[in-house]
Each structure stands twice: as C-alpha cells, then as structure tokens.
Symmetry: none
Subunit: 350 residues, 2 copies
C-alpha cells in the first residue's frame, strides 16, 4: 500500500507548473492577494507578503505573463534606455525613477546604448518584445523610424533629460541650451575671452549640441565671435577630460577658462590642471554641468549647473504610470535648473 | 504492473518534456533534492535517492529536456540585478559587462533591488519570465529558495563582487574580507587606536559584512580588542557619510581614523570633516573602498582599495557566454585587489 508521503497531491500534479491558485491555496489567501503581493508589494501587509512570497518561492511559481496580459494587458515592467551606465550622470535620475515605479508595483529594466542610436533602436525593440509596458528614453535624437515603430504599437514613452514643448513626444526635462547659456554668461561676465569648450561628441546627442549652442549664444551676447571658441569633442569620461585638458593647457595662448559639458569632464580637467601645477581658478577656470556628487568634493568646489535629477526621474515615473493606469495624456514638464557659482570659476589672470 | 504509488498522472506523462518540478512533486521532494540526486547522488540518503531516481525513470525525465527547452527559446538577453543604480559603485563593472555582452550580440537588461532580497527575488523571476538567458547577481546573500528556483530552471548565473571557492554557485569577484583587512592593517600600523568604521548595513549584505570582518581581523592582529571599534551602519551615500562623520567628530575622545565601507561614504566623511574645520589626515584619517573616480579627485586623495571593476564585468560576461554557447562549467575567478595608499591616511595627531 502506498506510503502517503509518495501520494502526490493530484491538484498539484495534474499541472506542468504551479498556478496562482496553487499559491493562493498553499498560502491560505485569495488569488487577488497573491497577485497584489507580486505586483504591488507595498499594498500588502508584511506578514501576508512574506508568507505568500515564501510559498511562491517554494512552489517555484512564475507568474504566467501571457495569462496576466490577457487579464490586465500589462506586464508591469517598464524599460529605460540610457546612453551609458558608467559615471553617475544618469544614475541618480534612474534610481529615483525606479523607486517611484517600485512604489506602484512596477519593475524597471534598464539598457545602455553606449550613445549608439542603432543600438538604442535594437534595445527599444528588445524591451518591447520582452513585454515592457512603457519606456523612458534620453533625449530626442533618434531615427524617425523607431519613433514611428513605437507609435504604431502605442507604446507609451517619455523623453527625459531634454524638454521640447513643440515636440509630439512627451518629455520631462530641462532646456539644455538655456541652462548652459546662463552658466557661460557668468564665465564671460568675469572677463574671460580665451575660452575652450570640452563637450561630448554632438552628433546624435541633442543635449550636448544644445549645451554647446548655449555657450555660443552667451559668447555672442558678450560681443565675442562664437567661432573663436576652442571646441573639443570627447566622450564623457574623467580620463578624456584630463587628457584633453592636458592638450588645451599646452596651447599658446592658453585658454583662461574651460567650459565642460558635464561634471565628469570637469573633474578630469581640474585633476589635469593640478597635475600640471596650474591653479584653478587662478591660472584657469573650469565649469561643469549636472551638479552630481563629484562637484561637491572637488577642490576647488565646481561651478556647475544643478539638474534636478531625482525630480526628473520621479516625474517620468508618475507620467508613465498615469498613462498606463488612467489613460491620460500628460503635458510635457520643464524642470528648472540652477547655476551653482563655486570656487572653480574666477576672473582671468591677465 | 507498475507500483500504484508511481502511477504517473496522465497529464504529466503525456507531456513531451517532464520538468524537474514534475519529478519533485511526484517524488514528494524539493527540486534541489532532485538535482542533487542527479548531480551529487552521494549527498542524498539512499531511500530518497532510490525514490527520486525511480520517479525520474517512470516519468522519463532527462535534465537535458530543460536545457534543450532553454536553448530553444534563447533570447540573447542577459539580466543583471544590482542593489542600487545610484552612485558609481556598480556602474563601471556593469558598463564593462554590457560592452563585452554587446560584442557577442547579447542585450543586457539591468534591474535594481534597492538592497531588498525580496525585491531581488521578484526581479529574478521577472527577468527569467521576460526571457533572460542568464543572470548576473551581486553577492551571495539571498534566500536558498530563489537559488534553488534558478537551479531548477537551469538558468546560468554568476555571482559578482564576491568570491567563494567553496560555494556551489559560479562567482567572479574578490575577497572582501582580506581586501579590507589589508587596508585596515595600514591604518593600525600608523598607530591609530581610536578607530571608527562607517559601513553599509551588514544584514543581507555579505560584502559589507566581510569588509567589517576584515577591519576586526586587522584590529585583532594589531593587538586591539575588535569590540572597541566604533561601528556605525548607514546606507551608502555621500550625505549619509557626511551626516555620520559629523556625529563621530562630536565624540570625545574623537576617533583618529574613520574606515569607510566605500568611497562614497568616505567622500561624504571628508567633506563633513572639512566643513567642521578638521584637517584630513592631520586631525582625522579617512579611508574608502572601490577606488572609483571620486577617490582620485578628493583633497586629499583617498586611501582606498582598488577593485578591478572592468575586469570583473568582462569576466562575468565571458563566463555566461561560454556557458550559454559552449555548455561549459567555468571555475570561479578570484580577482586581485590593491591597497592604494594616498594622502587621506596619516598617523594620529596624538
């Protein structure tokens, strides 16, 4: 006669994989509670959540996204594609984006395009194929084809780190050109005339292009021919900033101010100037963009543009959730940036 | 005629590929026990082994079914789950991981667990349900159930940022304890006796726990009672490092050295010391861990442990690709770290 231990529970054995009903039965809760535990953990008491997730793990239950898609047409997965995961320029905004999504039971999946529009297009298709309900994308520079592809599939998406009231796409960002113009005019106001600009490659990077345009606008306002600006393009990195600064400081006459496209380039530039025995700002002023942590620990403290990364990330999450859950059409949001005047900017020596 | 207790349910036999869950359920054991019976039979009691292997035979289960099923639905998407996307501590390694994957035509999708094992377990299930072929996970601290869940599904995964030759799981990392022990012994060697440790919360963070153990080991070697160390736990962030340093500097007698669990905490600590008018290292020495960019721009330059983040990311990618494409079983890799002695560490004032 059969050892009861060997008697498989028919209700379970009849299936190739445990179902939400199996989990609900084993945990002694409703199937609705099970899916809340998986989708909106914040909305379930901890004791219940712990018990249910324990059963989920024990049974090896994997939510059947097909069935849930039928039920809810949602995977509660949202994708974000950023140009790079290295250095902190997108990290803080993404973290705030993911925290806000988590509060509403959404999982964030992030891909990094290495500043390649082709790779970004592939990753957009991959994330949608993997079931992303909505996407966060950085900036407006991409082939019309992939934007049309998104619109054809009615995939909600928000453009971050840039703002364009006239654009068809929803954007939550700031005016890169005006933000940099405001900073650069502080540089020219101190009398700098030999000014260099360290920028990321501007092709296919509307943020970098707009920031450079902002410097040129400020130069023109200061009565300077924008074409006399020494513009150097180099990918955002500490080492690139240092290497290009090293070259710039070899120029005669030497620039008296170097306006950098972000704080990482500026940090490298200041390190290179120090290594050359040059005083900042005595011999050369250096400015950045973003106001990430590194700006607050540089010596001297970095004059830069403060970008409200956390507000931006949270606003992007709220807009996408609003679209997905309430079918709204949020208006684009322009966030204010602020010029942070700190020790790295002073008057020219001569 | 078959022993009734082994009458497999028709619904199960009909299926072309019985799963390890089918075997586990029919045999009344966990999926992990099934894998052990097949992979490490010596580690399983004979009665259980006989029962399981009999069910395996009855159902015609072959572990290769799982592998074949997996190979059939390869997506060339690989998932990574990191505790946080904020601050740069995982950014560089992830970027290198993704660049290496890109070279081989794989797309990386990253999720961030906010240091919550429950959220990590959800994200593991989500990424696998979204079709991830393999996973990169940080550290060894997670519920056995989710590891068994991964093993039951034969999902290749690599543990990074930690190394354990004895662990069953493949790991590519470094010895956090020994790395921090080597740094801390430099601190004690300079005569510091009132030493504080700023660490991330050590619960469910094996890297932080091991680093703290390394400081305690170095203290003992220096003839100091490890329990006299002033240990403060605070989540990794610049602001937390600054706030806790501010409190520590109010102690009497004041610690003469503060060993920080990573460079971000150390950067905040140095900024707070400077704000209090304290000289580093004259009044207090500060050390970090990671050697990310911020360590090279702090004033003074930060004494820290250099972690080969890029090598680690690349090695993880190569191992997972090797497993997926060649079915190999790579051995775990221990990477060497290096103590970087820089200006932030000096002898105590008294």
């Amino acid at each position: 006669m059969a050892d009861p231990e060997f008697q498989p529970d028919p209700a379970v054995v009849k299936r190739s994989a445990p179902t939400v009903e199996d989990v609900a039965r084993a945990a002694g809760v409703s199937t609705a509670t099970v899916s809340r535990c998986l989708n909106m953990p914040a909305k379930v008491g901890e004791a219940t959540r712990t018990r249910v997730l324990k059963v989920v793990a024990e049974l090896g239950y994997s939510p059947n996204f097909g069935a849930r898609a039928l039920a809810a047409k949602r995977t509660r997965t949202i994708g974000a594609i950023v140009p790079t995961m290295e250095n902190a320029i997108f990290a803080r905004g993404l973290q705030a984006f993911q925290e806000e999504l988590g509060l509403h039971g959404y999982t964030l999946l992030v891909a990094s395009s290495s500043y390649s529009p082709e790779r970004e297009a592939d990753q957009i298709r991959t994330l949608v194929a993997r079931g992303a309900d909505a996407l966060l994308l950085i900036g407006f520079d991409r082939a019309p084809a992939i934007t049309e592809w998104l619109e054809a599939r009615a995939v909600p998406h928000v453009i971050a780190w840039a703002y364009d009231a006239d654009a068809k796409a929803l954007s939550v960002g700031f005016d890169n050109r005006e933000a940099m113009r405001a900073l650069a005019s502080e540089v020219f106001a101190r009398g700098h005339r030999r000014v260099a600009v360290l920028t990321a490659p501007i092709a296919q990077n509307d943020r970098a292009r707009e920031r450079l345009a902002g410097v040129r606008a400020a130069a023109a306002e200061a009565g300077l021919d924008p074409d006399t600006l020494r513009v150097v393009e180099t990918p955002y990195s500490f080492d690139n900033g240092a290497a290009q600064m090293d070259l710039l400081m070899g120029d005669t006459p030497r620039p008296t101010a170097v306006i950098c496209g972000n704080d990482i380039l500026a940090a490298g530039a200041i390190a290179a100037a120090r290594a050359k025995g040059l005083r900042v700002p005595g011999d050369v002023s250096v400015t950045g963009f973003d106001d990430i942590e590194i700006a607050r620990v540089l010596d001297p403290l970095l004059t830069t543009v403060h970008v409200p990364h956390r507000d931006m990330g949270r606003a992007c999450a709220r807009d996408l959730i609003d679209i997905l859950e309430n079918g709204t059409h949020p208006a684009s949001t322009e966030l204010r940036t602020e010029v942070m005047l700190r020790g790295s900017l002073g008057p020219p020596a001569d």
